[in-house]
């Protein structure tokens, strides 16, 4: 029987199918009618253009439709529920956007003389003040461009501090559940990485950690709450042991949304932590970026923070750009200009509009939402570790045992239901992990629909309808993609079809 939903055009209602832009139109077509340019002397020599550059030729309405249709195939936080664990996909308030577009802010140039941008420097300073106050740390490097860049800056600061005291060390300890960027950063900074196993509560195995800690360890990189969505209860003991060994405590701030306004990392003995402004502080994220990853620093590390930084003197704000002009010992520069200024505007707008009480409520509501999901789903879906959890809840594949359905299949079926899937197969310490982070900006109604869907899909899997899952998604513009083939044999760009020699 033919598919009753098949159409002549291949379009499905308002979902339009079309070829790639390179396969549309023709090179002799253009959206604008310009006079022929006057002939000029070619000065390109050996690099002169040897053939047509092959841009697609389309009219303006065709181009507009193409990109609009592409945007409709996207899924974003503005579309629907996006519980991607460890990513804090919260709503981006439009007030932030309005502030970032104010002419006095949006039209600035980073090379303007500082006398003409005192307001911008005051804004960077105010944003820095909020970040320091919220984390209980005395200093912050504002320039890192995103989280992993912040990690890198953190470890470079630690290395500078250690080498300055003539105590270069060789190893960095990283829990097995860490974000992949942690070991990658340590390795890139020249350290040997050593894993610390988790205990059966999903926390750092304290005994194993102490055994690995010695005078050769430069730092531990710990996420708190960790990637299992659990608070590291032994964090004070860990910090004390790290400091007794002469090492530094790097905290990955990816999960700050769980504790903001309630716990100050500085009080936990943290020396260094990056803050993802695009997670906790609601700046655009995941394609809408860029990210921004300021790093807060303890007293011991503050002198080594990179340039540039803002100082306030008798004549107003100043940027210290040259390490030689610094009173401290900056290890260098890690970014052109002054960091992601547009994100400082949005983050400061967010912090000031929420206020300290509002930010305290953010973490409370984020943790409450995750625990609501835990409570509603714990009898259906298997919990990886006994709760309660923090801002995200971690399930494993146990509930799908014997059904033939995998975590991946289950996630694909969620797409048909209109949800962005949760993070799957991370953290690696759990079999078939499903990491769900609802954030505080979702309503109870959304969470209830998600719970109902999870229950219905689980029932379907247990009833033996494996095929349904293995063929999901069915309702998307493209069906299940061959991820294995894409990784083994990636085709990274479009190429014109080969000309048929026989036809010439």
């Amino acid at each position: 029987m033919s598919d009753p939903r098949a159409t002549t055009t291949g379009n499905r209602g308002l979902q339009i199918e079309e070829p790639l832009i390179f396969e549309q139109g023709s090179p002799d077509k253009t959206a604008v009618d310009l006079p022929e340019p006057p002939s000029t002397k070619d000065r390109l020599g050996g690099v002169r253009r040897s053939g047509p550059i092959g841009l697609p030729g389309l009219s303006e309405p065709e181009v507009v439709r193409h990109y609009l249709r592409l945007s409709q195939k996207n899924f974003s936080i503005d579309h629907g529920f996006y519980p991607l664990g460890s990513c804090t996909m919260k709503h981006n308030p439009r007030l932030n956007e309005k502030l970032a577009r104010l002419p006095g802010i949006g039209d600035l140039h980073p090379l303007q003389p500082t006398a003409t941008v005192q307001g911008a420097l005051a804004l960077i300073d105010a944003c820095a003040h909020w970040l320091k106050a919220l984390t209980g740390m005395p200093a912050v490097a504002m320039s890192p461009a995103a989280g992993a860049h912040g990690e890198s800056v953190g470890l470079m600061t630690i290395r500078a501090a250690l080498e300055d005291r003539g105590d270069a060390r060789k190893r960095v300890l990283v829990p097995d559940s860490a974000h992949g960027t942690n070991p990658a950063t340590a390795h890139a900074c020249g350290y040997a990485v050593e894993g610390i196993p988790a205990d059966d509560r999903g926390r750092v195995d304290l005994a194993a950690f102490r055994e690995k800690l010695d005078a050769d360890v430069a730092a531990i990189m710990l996420t708190n709450p960790n990637t299992c969505g659990l608070f590291e209860n032994d964090i004070l003991d860990i910090a004390a042991a790290v400091h007794d060994a002469g090492a530094f405590f790097y905290c990955d701030g990816a999960n700050l949304n769980a504790i903001v306004g309630r716990v100050r990392p500085g009080d936990l003995g943290v020396d260094c932590m990056h803050i993802n402004l695009h997670k906790t502080f609601s700046t655009p994220h995941g394609g809408g970026g860029p990210g921004s990853g300021p790093v807060v620093l303890s007293e011991a590390l503050a002198p080594y923070a990179p340039v540039p930084y803002v100082v306030q003197g008798p004549d107003g704000f100043e940027l210290i750009e040259d390490p030689a002009r610094s009173d401290a010992k900056p290890f260098g520069r890690i970014k052109g200009f002054h960091g992601q200024f547009g994100m400082f505007v949005r983050a400061l707008g967010y912090m000031m509009s929420m206020g300290s009480d509002g930010l305290r409520q953010v973490s409370g509501d984020a943790v409450l939402n995750a625990n609501y999901l835990l409570a509603c789903l714990r009898d259906t879906v298997t919990l990886a570790f006994e709760g309660p959890c923090m801002h995200e809840v971690l399930f494993d594949e146990g509930f799908l045992k014997e059904t033939g359905v995998t975590t991946l299949d289950f996630a694909k079926a969620l797409i048909d239901e209109g949800f962005h899937p949760m993070t799957v197969y991370f953290p690696l310490v759990v079999h078939g992990a499903m990491l769900v982070e609802p954030t505080e900006t979702e309503t109870k109604a959304t969470l209830d629909t998600f719970v109902e869907t999870m229950k219905a899909l689980t029932a379907r899997a247990r009833a033996g309808d494996v095929e349904y899952f293995q063929e999901a998604p069915r309702l998307t513009p493209r069906r299940r993609l061959d991820e294995t083939m894409a990784a083994r044999n990636p085709i990274l760009r479009w190429r014109p079809p080969a000309v048929d020699k026989a036809a010439e």
Binding site: G180, L408, Y425, F426, L428, H431, E483, T484, A487, R488
Partner: protein, 125 residues
């Protein structure tokens, strides 16, 4: 199978005289899913037991493969570069990773015999 030994990290080593052939187990390939990339050590490299010897990437994750025994790498499975799927298809055979000249055959005593490994996997499932 009598001359094969296993680690608790799901690597196997098959003893052929003074040479050990190393790979990952059936259970490991099943857990990893489709393998898309394998980074092998260089021939001539000196491996230290328990230290990283290779990297394996699947659609789910990237993992390190640790050397189950110490010694010099004498051969690597070049075929995995073009067809990493061999690890999925035949983990204990065609999907071998590298061969190492055993520096200390005594090290084999610390590894698991097939029956012990089978028991370990049964406990995980």
């Amino acid at each position: 199978m009598a001359n094969v030994r296993f680690t608790s990290d799901h690597e196997w080593v098959r003893i052929e005289g003074d040479i050990g052939v190393v790979g990952i187990t059936e259970y490991a390939q099943e857990q990893l899913g489709d393998i898309v990339f394998v980074e092998l050590p260089e021939v001539g490299a000196q491996l230290e037991k328990g230290a990283e010897a290779a990297v394996i990437e699947s659609v789910k994750a990237a993992s390190e493969i640790n050397a189950p025994v110490s010694g010099e790498v004498v051969a690597v499975n070049e075929g995995l570069a073009d067809d990493p799927g061999k690890v999925n298809a035949d983990a204990m055979g065609e999907g071998w990773f590298f061969k190492v000249r055993l520096a200390d055959p005594q090290e084999l005593e610390d590894l698991m015999k097939p029956a012990a490994y089978k028991e370990l996997v049964a406990g995980l499932k």
